[in-house]
Subunit: 207 residues, 4 copies
Amino acid sequence: MTIQQPQTRIQKKNRETILDAALDVFSEHGFRGATLDQIATTAGLSKPNVLYYFASKEAIYTALLSGLLETWLDPLRAIDPDGEPVDEILAYVMRKLDMSRTFPRESRLFANEIVQGAPRILDQIEGPLKSLVDETSTMFRRWTREGRLAEIDPHHLIFSIWATTQHYADFSAQIRGILRSEGEEHFDVAADFLEHFYRRALVPSPG
Amino acid sequence: MTIQQPQTRIQKKNRETILDAALDVFSEHGFRGATLDQIATTAGLSKPNVLYYFASKEAIYTALLSGLLETWLDPLRAIDPDGEPVDEILAYVMRKLDMSRTFPRESRLFANEIVQGAPRILDQIEGPLKSLVDETSTMFRRWTREGRLAEIDPHHLIFSIWATTQHYADFSAQIRGILRSEGEEHFDVAADFLEHFYRRALVPSPG
Amino acid sequence: MTIQQPQTRIQKKNRETILDAALDVFSEHGFRGATLDQIATTAGLSKPNVLYYFASKEAIYTALLSGLLETWLDPLRAIDPDGEPVDEILAYVMRKLDMSRTFPRESRLFANEIVQGAPRILDQIEGPLKSLVDETSTMFRRWTREGRLAEIDPHHLIFSIWATTQHYADFSAQIRGILRSEGEEHFDVAADFLEHFYRRALVPSPG
Amino acid sequence: MTIQQPQTRIQKKNRETILDAALDVFSEHGFRGATLDQIATTAGLSKPNVLYYFASKEAIYTALLSGLLETWLDPLRAIDPDGEPVDEILAYVMRKLDMSRTFPRESRLFANEIVQGAPRILDQIEGPLKSLVDETSTMFRRWTREGRLAEIDPHHLIFSIWATTQHYADFSAQIRGILRSEGEEHFDVAADFLEHFYRRALVPSPG
DNA sequence: GATGAATGAGTCTTCATTCAT
DNA sequence: CATGAATGAAGACTCATTCAT
């Protein structure tokens, strides 16, 4: 969390209300497509009152993005360097899939931003995100050297995990259209599928 | 194609110029974020002239989308029902990856649209796209019954192929930020990775 | 002063703080260009607190203007009807020049107001100010009749004194730009200049 | 004039209409006090149409200022270095007074800008204006050395001329209030006054 | 076919002022 | 006395679309 000034209870509540409304609107329409009006209405506040809490539309957006990036990376940080490689990575896949199920708006917020070239978050991608991914990749490579993980490019492994899990949040409109599914049963099927999929890919070849 | 009137050569050329410019702009900024001005400037035409060829901004957008959907599905149609299952699917993966490399704007155009709930293309998703995917799934299931393909959910297999291949186009900003790569070498690494990945997943278990 | 209610010490102090801050802000940006926020911040008070002491932005402005008008006219009142005409008027010129040096904000406050048509101070111009100027003019005319002052239009003499002395406050941005002067040395040169200038103009022609 | 692009007749006409309306509004209310609405209404155009011709409110303002600065300095340039000093300077005073009578809006536009610290025209003051004034001052000093002009500081002489003549435009609200004059007769009295005034100041002392 | 000109409907933002405590 | 919170009204600017030639 990025709380700087001391905040009264009402301030904290309203800032959170606004950020939640903004998550709704930005994740559905992207930055340019979203309007302050929508955010204010969703938040149940007047437009100027929203701007009382955040200096500008852009300020809301960046507050959202940076506030969420941390949360977004937690599952990756939670991989235990001393654990069993295949299990650790499979658990990571499941955590990511869970996040797509539980926080689809957050996923789409990032998706929108990145598809459009990440104009407002490139710094954080090239900084903290890259560092974390690089460290994790080093760990994966060690596991492979130790014969406990298949020979596999660690960066692209991570990309594939992101792609396959976030896909269920980011492209849910398409998935629901094809599966004719209103509910979330397909997440369970997806979990089985990905379990099978990644286990085969990760287990080191015998000999 | 939805072109009814007979067209002079110049009309055809201008329509294509506009659609190409629109692809540039829409894929980078999404529907709301794009402006007719940008499209007209990119196309080298005046704004009213652009609207002479297309009734509205929305008309350009939907013309683009439906014009491209066909092309987008071609690789899936190209799977040979009488071919060798694993080879056929791996070839499909490679064709999709090639499209991400060759037509990243098209990929991002769809990504933008679908992330935002596919408001203008849901019909085509629930119609032709679903049909094609369902047919292909039936084929996959037959292959599995015949013991020539691993036991794997065909819909989610298709989703995973879309996710892993399109990811290189749709999230290229993130990938380039992490790999610090300006060029396209990572597509070759990705090809190797996906080849390994999907081969392991698709080959049926012995016995 | 237009203060009716009895005031505590703290009230008096705050009113003065506000007026001083308002002088800063109004003289630099004019009425429309100034904001309550700027005034409140400059005064070190909260915006509602400022409005606790003055009913409105306009009230602050008019309180300032009328509070200062008196001070502004003092030098003119100080001309001694029984003094030596040329000396008296020269002394008046010097007092006015001193005020431009010492109270440039006040001068610019009036300048702003009058350049924009004096919408909020016209009454006082057509009332007390006109009266005072007319009286002084009568005195000047008497001095001319008595052969102790050159034949010169008294109103325009007063205008010229206002113009030449206030110019150093009101147009100081221009003067500093041309003289490339940060300090106030030019006020001394100006004093010499005006002394020479007005002495020649005021001394009655011999015969 | 600062015409860059080729302009159609209608463009030229509308740009001029807008600049004239803007002169009205800016000279009366200053930059911040003026609204695009007022300018558009005065010009008889819609607000967006005004912005079709000028990129922004500020663009209109600076176009006005720089377009007028040249005109504003013409009378100073017209002083003939080979003429009779006192006559030349007196003629300059009269030209300046005429401009105050004929172009009071222009005068007030500059006055507003400079009183508020010349934020948008300081460059031109410290550049072309300073140069011209410095050259003229050198000429005045030469005339004094040649015994054809009184010993007088040339910069402050120029300031006094600006002050006394522009005063009739910039502070006309005050002057009209005091003289109870609706017309322009006072300009004739002012001309006589300034003639007397400056002649006495400029004629070199005998011997 | 093509374009300069024009505009209505937004969209973000500012700001004086009010409300509640 | 003082202030955090809230807002209506206005203001600058954008943009898809239409008009007229």
